[in-house]
Structure formats: structure tokens, C-alpha cells
Amino acid sequence: MLEIKNYSKSYDGGKKAADNVTLTVESGDIYGFIGHNGAGKSTTIRAVVGVLDFTEGEIFIDGHSVKDEPMECKKVTAYIPDNPDLYENLTGIQYLNFVSDVFDISAQEREEKIKKYADLFEITDALGDLISSYSHGMKQKVAIISALIHDPKLLVLDEPFVGLDPKATFTLKEIMHEMCNRGTAIFFSTHVLDVAEKLCNKVAIIKKGKIIASGTMEELTEGQSLEEAFLEADNG
């Protein structure tokens, strides 16, 4: 579903934020992307979702090139950034309707989906309020719902658990499992290694823009905890 091939991104001055990154996320995978702050996780994720331009390498989503066929890729992808910049002067429901309109979701379907996810995240009552009045966690919940209402084939999340309360964290993990069972590919970055260990079937560790280890959870940990495997790879 997602194929990143030799992707590199250089910033001005020649410093590489991502260096020859190669990985594949299959349908049904929950793929964790872990690394230090500034390791290149967000740079890679932003290129995957078509926000950041890149010159080296190729990224394919559902067989379409992000560079050459961005619209085809975006139609099947949903992205939740680490700090969602939503339209603050819209109400939650206005924002969700905006995204539904963009994906051309029927009135009945959007009503069902919004109700289902808003109830799960316990935010239904607040949907009529302005987003500017929401807490960080509430904004995160609205961003998550907006990503789920069009049934994406690929879900890309950047630090999705930051700011969520324990119940919402649990709900999101459940939804991720459910989506994975339906064949959705999930690619997400996180610092919370415990979550990644319990949730993911595949993991990649990125350091200074380079993938230093990747594979299935079993291959990577070899009986250790993910934390130990991460520290070992990081020190090595």
C-alpha cells in the first residue's frame, strides 16, 4: 500500500533530514516509525502525504506516485499531524462537514460516521462549539474523526497519542486494530515505545535521517523489549 524507495530530503545547506529511506507498508500492517526528536520522522511523513516536496527517491501509495499522481494518492490517504492546525473559527461539525464535502461523502454516511466516532471519542456534545474553544486533545479527536470518515486505505499519523486522554488513547488503538483487520495500512510515528510494541506488527527505527533497523516486531526485538532493541540499535 505504501512504498518508500530511496527517499532523501535535503534542506538548504545540504543537510539531509532523510537519507535513502526505504520501507514498505502492506495492507493490514500497523507500521511504527520510531526515532529521536529531529531524527526525520515528520519529514518522511510529510513527504508521504504530499505536503513536502522531495527530489530524490520515490514514494508510491496504492501503486500511484506521490510526485506524479498526488490526487490519486490523497484520495485514499488520511493524515493526522502531530499538532493539527484546524480552522479555529469553525465549529467541530462545520470542520467535519468540510472534510466530508472534500471527499464527497453522502449526507447519510457522514452522519453515521461522525456520530459513531464522535460518540466513541465522547465529543458529540462539543461538536457545535468553535474549535478555538477546544483543548488540544479535543482538537486531536476532531482531526482523527476527520481522517476516519472517508475510510482511507492508508492512515498516516504523526504522534497520534500526544494529548489524548487514556480512554481516547484506548479507543484510537481499538480503531487502529479494527481498520487493520479491514485491510487498511497504518503508518505512524511515536515516541511511546510501549504503545508501538503492543500495537505494531512492523517497526522502523530512524536516526539522523537513516533507517538503522526495520522489520517485523519479532525480527527486530528478538525476544528483547522494543525499548532495549531501540537503545541497542541507537547506540550501535
Binding site: V51, D53, Y87, N89, L90, D101, F103, S132
Partner: protein, 532 residues
């Protein structure tokens, strides 16, 4: 426009509409503030309308009413160009919600096009205020048919498009060039300033060309200048011919050319949109800092320094806030090089004006530029989502505003002193008068700073989506800038008139006292507002 474009345009408009906030907020104070902002805005539109009607009546009284449509097109086109040039960075490029929009299935050209239309719709009330007012003036003198009224209104909607597209294209070129540099923000700011200065001097360059015999006629009067401009800038002529001669072809030309240029431009912009925004929005951390000796600053100085960093970090902020200062410095240097007399001759197009009578107006001329924009008028709102930082720190509001005012004084006073000195040296103003002008200039800067702060606090708005909303369109800035500019223009005329009858030193002392009292009153108002 396809369905997706309509969805995006609607979201852009609703998400920045204060009406939407009014409808959904439960905060009564916020609701009152929104009503006050709308009342203020309508008052400003009324001011623009009154000015436009008066201009048109002046044309009619002088028997030049046929020039009114061209003048209307000229005013709207100039406004549209200037408004847009300052907004491209922040609206078309490098905007906050770029990641969110780009990750959704929108073509790049759709996003850029909708952003442009959003700018257009938002500025339309200003353009239509001019148009409707001048139509009223035109109607009084020319007695056109009802159809012409309708024709005028419909075509007025298209007049701003071409200048806006031209300004957007220039913004695109500037963004394209600067995105290739390591310090793209700095390069962007420098090129924008260079372009603004070029635009301001363009009028004199064109006039120079005419005077050099490259055009057959010289610009004899205002009407002649407008006629000339209609020949150079064709859409002006199309509009004028359409409404004065009822030409359908000219009307269609205006509509078709505007629409075609829109489609072409956003096709071009769309092709490198992601590339430009990626470069403008992404910055690599150098990670080479070595711990050095740190300096301790007083609280007010620390806030002023924070304001300085805020300004130089934003091309939109610096180009809007410092444009007057840059123009003032250029004026000062130009005066030293070509001389005060010659400069007056250039500005007045060789009108028989004795430059000596303009001497008492020097501080006001300098203030017109230096005080064009006070950073204090927008800096309270610019705190935006970062307001929690100063709120959670042990800083009194009074100290916060004092820091903001200190920064504006640090920015404006040296520029004012430099330009005033240049003008006084060049105009051979006596030393004692020069000193008085410098003190008067300082008092005016103090007034500008404190009055700007009053406007900034009274119309503080933290929930903005884009900093352009408070820097360029904020009610605080509008309330500061428009009356300030109009009043200074009137004062320049008044002081020249009084200077013929009263000693220049006494005149400077009187103005100094008035400016000082106004500055003090404004400062006290700031302190009172800080207590609330």
C-alpha cells in the same frame, strides 16, 4: 469552478468570518467586540465612500466628470495592487494551514486559486465602497441611464482582478526566487522591499519618460494624467469606455481578459506550488550552537527585543511595519543627493512651489512615512496563540505594553531623526529650527506609538488564522492608520498655510505641545487599558 473549489472557498471564508464566531460563541464579551469591530469597519468604509464622493464631486464641479470612471478604475486598481502585494506571503504562500490543505485531495492550483479568490472577496467591500461612491458622484453630474448604473457595478467587480493577479504573479516570482536560497525569509523580505520601493518610484520614472519626449504630451493636470494612465493601463480605458460610451466590447474585454489571466496564472502557480511552499515552510536546524556568555536584560528591554525578533522573523510583518521607515530613509538619502528643491520639484511635477514654505512641514512629512504604521497597533494581537507565554509569566500587562511601545520608539525615532536631519541639512533649515523639528518628530513618534497601542489593545484579536488578518486587515491597524494618514495630510497643508503667517519656531513649539499632550493622553489610556 468545480465542487471541490467551492467547498474550499466556502471553508476559507467561513473559517475567518467573525459572523461565524458571533453565531457560535457563548462569550458575550466576544460577541460585543465583534459587533464593535463591524461598526468600526462600516465607519471606515463610510470614510472611504465620503472621500470618493467628494473626489467625484470635485471632478464634476471642474467639468471633468467624464474622467471619473477612469479615476474610479485607477483608485480601485491601485488599492487592489497594494493590498495584494503585501498579502501574497501569508495568504498565497507560506500560510498556516498549508499541511492540512495539501494533505487533502485538492490540486495545488485549486488551493492557490481559492486562496486568491478569498483575498479578492475579503477586499471587495473596500473596492465597492470606492466604486459605489464614485458612481453616486458620477450619477449626480452625468445623469446616466439605469443600465449604466448596473453595468458600472458589474464591471467594478472585475476591475480589481487584473492588478491583484499582477501582484500575485510578482509575489509568486519573489517566492520562487527566495525559495532557492538558504535564508529564504531574508531574501523574500529584501526582494519585497525592493519591489515596493520600485513601485513607489515607478510613477516618477514614467513621468520622467514622458518629460524626456518619449511621449508626445506631458502630464498637464490630474485629468490628463488619468487619461494618460488609461492609455497605458488598458483595463482602465475599457472600464471608462464601457460606462461612458456604453461599449459592450470593452466590458466584455475586461471580463474575458481578467478571467483568462486568472486561469493562466493559477495553472502556472499550481505547477510549482508544493515546491515553493516546501522551501518556505521547511527549515533545517543547524544544531551547531555552542553555549556562550548570556546577557541579562531588563524586563521591558527583553519584551522589546522579543518584539524585534518577532518582526524580523516574518516577511509579512516587516514589510508592512517597516515600509514607511524604509521610504523615509530613502527620502532622506535622496534629498541629500539631489537636493531639497529638486525633490520638491519632482514630487510636485515642477509646480511653482517655493520649497522654503514647505520647511515647517518637514516633521509632518517625515512623520507621514515613519508613523504610517505603528507596530503597537498590531503587536498585541500578534501574540495570538502565544499569548499564554506572557500571561503565565510574572509580567504585568503595563510592562508588556511598555516593552511593545519601547520597540516601536526604537524603530521609529532613529529613522525620524535621520530623515529629518537629511531634509533639514538639504533645505538649509536653521540649527535651532532643526532641533525643534527633531523634538517635534520625537513627540509625534511617541504619540504614534502610544495611540497605536491604544488601537491595538482596544481591537485585540488573538484567534486569527493568518497573521495578515491582524497586520493588514486588523481593525486595530485600520483604526490607527487611516485617520492618522488623513489627519497628517491635512496638517501638512495647514502648517504650510500657517507657516506663511507665523514664525516657524513658534509653529513648531505649538505643534510640539499638542503632540506631547496627545502622546501623554494616549499613554495614560494604555496604562488604564492595561489595568482592565
Amino acid at each position: 469552478m468545480d465542487k471541490r473549489s467551492m467547498v474550499l472557498l466556502k471553508a476559507l471564508l467561513v473559517s475567518t468570518s467573525r459572523m461565524n464566531v458571533f453565531k457560535h460563541t457563548k462569550d458575550k464579551k466576544k460577541k460585543n467586540k465583534i459587533v464593535a469591530a463591524y461598526v468600526g469597519l462600516f465607519f471606515l468604509y463610510a470614510m472611504v465612500m465620503a472621500y470618493s464622493v467628494l473626489m467625484c464631486i470635485g471632478y464634476g464641479a471642474m467639468g471633468m466628470i467624464d474622467s471619473a470612471p477612469a479615476m474610479c478604475a485607477l483608485v480601485i486598481s491601485s488599492l487592489a495592487f497594494v493590498f495584494t502585494v503585501f498579502k501574497t506571503n501569508g495568504y498565497l504562500f507560506n500560510f498556516k494551514e498549508y499541511d492540512m490543505l495539501m494533505s487533502l485531495p485538492f490540486e495545488s492550483s485549486t488551493i492557490a486559486g481559492c486562496k486568491f479568490l478569498y483575498m479578492y472577496i475579503n477586499s471587495l467591500p473596500w473596492y465597492m465602497s470606492v466604486s459605489v461612491a464614485m458612481l453616486i458622484g458620477y450619477g449626480i453630474f452625468a445623469h446616466p441611464s439605469v443600465l449604466i448604473y448596473l453595468y458600472w457595478i458589474v464591471l467594478s467587480l472585475f476591475i480589481p482582478l487584473i492588478p491583484m493577479l499582477a501582484a500575485s504573479f510578482i509575489g509568486f516570482i519573489i517566492a520562487r526566487i527566495s525559495s532557492g536560497f538558504k535564508k529564504n525569509n531574508l531574501i523574500h523580505t529584501i526582494i519585497t522591499f525592493a519591489f515596493i520601493i520600485f513601485s513607489f518610484s515607478l510613477r516618477y520614472i514614467i513621468e520622467g519618460l514622458f518629460r524626456d519626449g518619449r511621449a508626445e504630451q506631458t502630464l498637464e493636470n490630474m485629468s490628463g494624467a488619468v487619461e494618460k494612465a488609461s492609455g497605458v493601463y488598458l483595463p482602465m480605458g475599457w472600464f471608462s469606455d464601457a460606462v461612458t460610451k456604453g461599449s459592450i466590447v470593452c466590458g466584455l474585454l475586461l471580463i474575458v481578459v481578467s478571467s483568462a489571466l486568472f486561469i493562466i496564472l493559477f495553472h502556472i502557480v499550481g505547477r510549482s506550488y508544493r515546491n515553493i511552499n516546501s522551501a518556505l515552510k521547511s527549515h533545517a536546524a543547524r544544531g551547531t550552537y555552542k553555549m556562550t556568555t548570556q546577557k541579562k536584560r531588563s524586563l521591558v528591554t527583553a519584551i522589546a527585543y522579543k518584539e524585534f525578533r518577532r518582526m524580523i522573523g516574518s516577511t509579512t510583518y516587516i514589510t508592512n511595519a517597516a515600509v514607511g521607515d524604509v521610504l523615509a530613509v530613502i527620502l532622506g538619502v535622496a534629498t541629500l543627493i539631489i537636493g531639497f528643491d529638486k525633490l520638491i520639484a519632482v514630487v510636485t511635477q515642477n509646480a511653482p512651489v517655493d520649497s522654503a514654505i514647505l520647511q515647517p512641514a518637514i516633521p509632518l512629512i517625515v512623520y507621514f512615512m515613519v508613523g504610517m504604521m505603528a507596530t503597537t497597533a498590531c503587536s498585541p494581537s500578534l501574540e495570538g496563540k502565544n499569548y499564554w507565554i506572557v500571561q503565565s509569566l510574572p509580567i504585568e500587562k503595563k510592562t508588556l505594553y511598555q516593552g511593545k511601545m519601547l520597540f516601536n520608539m526604537c524603530l521609529s525615532v532613529p529613522v525620524m531623526a535621520f530623515t529629518t536631519l537629511c531634509l533639514c541639512i538639504s533645505a538649509r533649515v536653521p540649527l535651532i529650527n532643526t532641533v525643534l523639528y527633531l523634538i517635534l518628530g520625537t513627540a509625534l513618534c511617541a504619540f504614534s506609538t502610544a495611540w497605536g497601542c491604544v488601537c491595538g489593545i482596544k481591537h485585540m484579536r488573538l484567534d486569527w488564522e493568518n497573521e495578515v488578518e491582524v497586520i493588514k486587515q486588523g481593525p486595530g491597524v485600520a483604526w490607527y492608520m487611516l485617520p492618522n494618514m488623513f489627519v497628517v495630510m491635512i496638517l501638512v497643508v495647514l502648517v504650510v498655510f500657517l507657516g506663511l503667517r507665523i514664525d516657524h519656531k513658534i509653529l513648531a513649539l505649538v505643534f510640539m505641545a499638542i503632540a506631547a499632550v496627545l502622546a501623554l493622553l494616549s499613554y495614560r489610556r494604555v496604562l488604564a487599558l492595561a489595568k482592565k
